[in-house]
């Protein structure tokens, strides 16, 4: 079942003197449960493509369907709501709310959706256990290592049971051990909960784990390799 369809997607930035073609005629499909990496050198358009898939940016041309919904047809408030219910985000620099504990960071999105307290608590504990941080629920981000913070970010991304998770260079700031732990956790969640993961990365360790590797160069897809 397709969860994401990109058809002839372009993104052009008009600067003062030149026109920058950040994404150039990209067409891709993603099935449910994929564990895919978008790779390429810096400036190849990975983050721009990920932002457009996540509805944070709109294509200049082309169409993006997420769960058969054309994101460009949604009003800004509906788009935010759509993101909250369908897409989980993991960022390179974790972006946790520093004044909240690990538990509160994970709960945050569920509180915005007004989940009942008991259900919210159950889901939070389930996720923090899944990312191996059950004993750090009351720790603030400043008390956690980079790897632990990124695991909390993954738990937060999965909190509202999204259809897929977009992760922008999630391992860029992590050491080898933390990277391996994080990838194992994400792979496990992908397998067990059938959640689609799409990463942008130039980390070889992530590429090695991915079951599909899409390579971008100058905004164009130059290869799309599927592995078993």
């Amino acid at each position: 079942m397709k969860v994401l369809e990109l058809t002839n997607v372009h993104k052009v930035y008009n600067t003062t003197h030149v026109e920058v073609h950040a994404v150039n005629d990209v067409s891709l499909d993603f099935e449910e449960g994929e564990f895919a990496a978008i790779v390429g050198p810096s400036g190849s358009g990975k983050t721009t493509l990920l932002n457009m898939i996540g509805g944070l940016d709109m294509p200049t041309e082309g169409k993006i369907l997420v769960n058969s919904t054309d994101l460009s047809t949604l009003k800004p408030s509906a788009l935010i709501d759509f993101r909250m219910r369908n897409i989980g985000f993991v960022f390179q620099s974790y972006n946790l709310i520093p004044v909240l504990t690990a538990k509160e960071n994970v709960e945050f999105i569920m509180s915005l959706q007004k989940w009942p307290k008991r259900k919210k608590d159950e889901r939070t504990m389930e996720l923090l256990e899944a990312v191996g941080l059950k004993d750090r629920v009351d720790s603030r981000p400043s008390r956690l290592s980079g790897g632990q913070q990124q695991r909390v970010a993954v738990a937060r991304a999965l909190a509202s049971k999204p259809r897929f998770v977009l992760a922008d260079e999630p391992t860029a700031n992590l050491d080898t051990k933390s990277t391996e732990t994080l990838l194992d956790i994400m792979e496990k969640l992908n397998m067990e909960e059938n959640i689609t993961f799409i990463f942008s990365t130039h980390d070889a360790r992530v590429m090695k784990k991915a079951r599909r590797v899409i390579t971008l160069e100058d905004g164009k897809v130059v290869s799309d390799e599927r592995r078993k």
Binding site: D57, S77, R83, M84
Partner: protein
């Protein structure tokens, strides 16, 4: 969760938040305390007016106020008074004679209003008898002495009835009150000399005191050195009902002091039957019937009833008698609210600045929150709540401090002794007991919340304008 996050966000930058909280607290304290002092002064003035000067309702002949003529009097006053006294809302009622005249001593003549009263009945309506300056008499205590008069402190000074004298006893009293020995030694050289008025006494004191010593001890020396000419004689002159010049010799039976120099210098009280016979007014007449109510809030209703019961007379509630006081009490709450709003408006600029810094510092975080699904309404609410918490915390601290200070000072009062003359010239006491109702704190709380909300609008709109993708790219 938004509320909880907003509260935690307040304490993210403790120093900055504490600076804002402290500025709000100081502003609110200053405002509330100043209002407490103003309100205390107005309340005291209102109480003094009701208690000593006008009571609640007055009735007079329709032409009395415009003509001030002896013939414009109320006939059958006894039956009218009895009828009014029987009303349920009325606590007490008395009548007065009003005669314009001159008070004269050998050296001075002053224009005065001579009020003829029944001292026994007056005590039920007015509390002026309680304002007797100690040692000056006994408020018509001696029934055998028909010529006694009860005069104001300022009139006594104007008529040179109050004198100033440094005696050994005064020097001892000043020493006990803490007057330094070198000053005490200086003023002792005036022992045995009597000063007929305040001006000459002050001049003499200035010759032995420095400016600072005069500021600190001048009032103490002045008050301690006051002496009264017991049963001092003075004459009252006026015209009788037939426009013949007449008058009588009176003796000071007591001096009242009510912190209203204008009233003190112009109202002389004498027994009504004495003045009645001197001006040849018939029995059973009066110029004013004065009513004290059980509850001041009944003034309007009782005034209306009396107007319909006595259409041939003029019935005036305290608001009509003292329109300036009525305006002051009516406008007081609006004035206080406006005063606080001005203070909060000034503080709002500080809060806006802080909240703008908050938005600027958290650009990336706000981008993340929008990305993960926090809609514009909730972003706005979070920033607004943070701004309200910031201002409300400062406001609560300020209100708590002002409440404590008002509680302390309301028991002891604050003495603005150096400004006594100015205060008393306006009818206000210079010893003010700050007071403020709990309702005012509620109004201030609402104003603080409104300030917090308004201060957050511009920063919140700034936050709403952020593009999440761009915000996430910021470092």
């Amino acid at each position: 969760m938004i509320t909880k996050t907003a509260w935690k966000n307040v304490w993210r930058n403790k120093v900055r938040s504490l600076v804002v909280i402290a500025s709000v607290a100081v502003g609110i304290f200053a405002g509330v305390f100043a209002v407490g002092v103003m309100n205390g002064a107005i309340d005291q003035r209102a109480d003094d007016i009701f208690e000593n000067e006008i009571a609640h309702i007055q009735i007079n002949h329709k032409d009395f106020r415009s003509n001030n003529d002896l013939v414009c009097n109320i006939k059958n006053v006894n039956s009218i008074r009895d009828q009014i006294g029987a009303m349920e809302e009325v606590e007490s009622v008395c009548d007065r004679l009003f005669v314009a005249g001159m008070a004269n001593t050998a050296r001075k003549s002053v224009g005065v209003n001579i009020i003829g009263i029944d001292p026994r009945e007056e005590k039920y309506v007015f509390g002026l008898y309680k304002e007797l300056e100690p040692g000056t008499g006994d408020y018509f205590g001696d029934p055998e002495r028909e010529e006694l008069a009860y005069i104001g402190f300022d009139l006594a000074k104007n008529l040179n009835i109050i004198r100033y004298e440094i005696t050994d006893e005064v020097a001892d009293q000043l020493k006990t009150a803490g007057l330094p020995a070198e000053i005490s030694g200086g003023i002792r050289k005036f022992t045995g000399k009597r000063f007929d008025n305040e001006k000459s006494f002050k001049k003499a004191m200035r010759s032995v005191l420095t400016e600072d010593q005069e500021k600190e001890y001048g009032k103490l020396i002045l008050e301690t050195s006051q002496t009264f000419r017991e049963r001092a004689r003075f004459t009252l002159t006026f015209v009788d009902i037939n426009n013949h010049q007449t008058g009588g010799v009176f003796r000071v039976g007591g001096i009242y002091n009510i912190s209203n120099s204008m009233y003190e210098s112009s109202y002389v009280f004498v027994r009504d039957h004495v003045i009645r016979s001197l001006v040849e007014l018939p029995e059973n007449t009066a110029h004013k019937i004065i009513i004290r109510l059980k509850d001041v809030d009944d003034t309007k209703a009782v005034t209306m009833k009396l107007k319909s019961d006595f259409p041939e007379l003029e019935v005036l509630g305290w608001r009509e008698i003292q329109p300036d006081m009525a305006l002051m009490t009516d406008m007081a709450e609006v004035m206080y609210g406006f005063f606080m709003a001005l203070i909060l408006a000034a503080l709002a600029f500080g809060i806006v600045n802080t909240m703008l810094m908050v938005v600027l510092e958290r650009t990336k975080e706000l981008g993340m929150l929008t990305a993960i699904g926090m809609n514009r309404k909730k972003v706005f609410r979070m920033i607004m709540t943070e701004s309200v918490f910031l201002s409300l915390t400062g406001g609560m601290v300020g209100m708590l401090i002002s409440w404590i200070i008002i509680r302390i000072t309301s028991a002891r009062g604050i003495n603005f002794g150096s400004m006594q003359e100015g205060f008393e010239a306006m009818g206000f006491s210079s010893h003010i007991y700050p007071d403020i109702g709990i309702g005012f704190f509620f109004i201030v709380t609402v104003l603080i919340i409104v300030t917090g909300v308004l201060s957050s609008v511009y920063p919140a709109f700034k936050a709403l304008k952020l593009d999440p993708a761009e915000a996430l790219r910021t470092e």
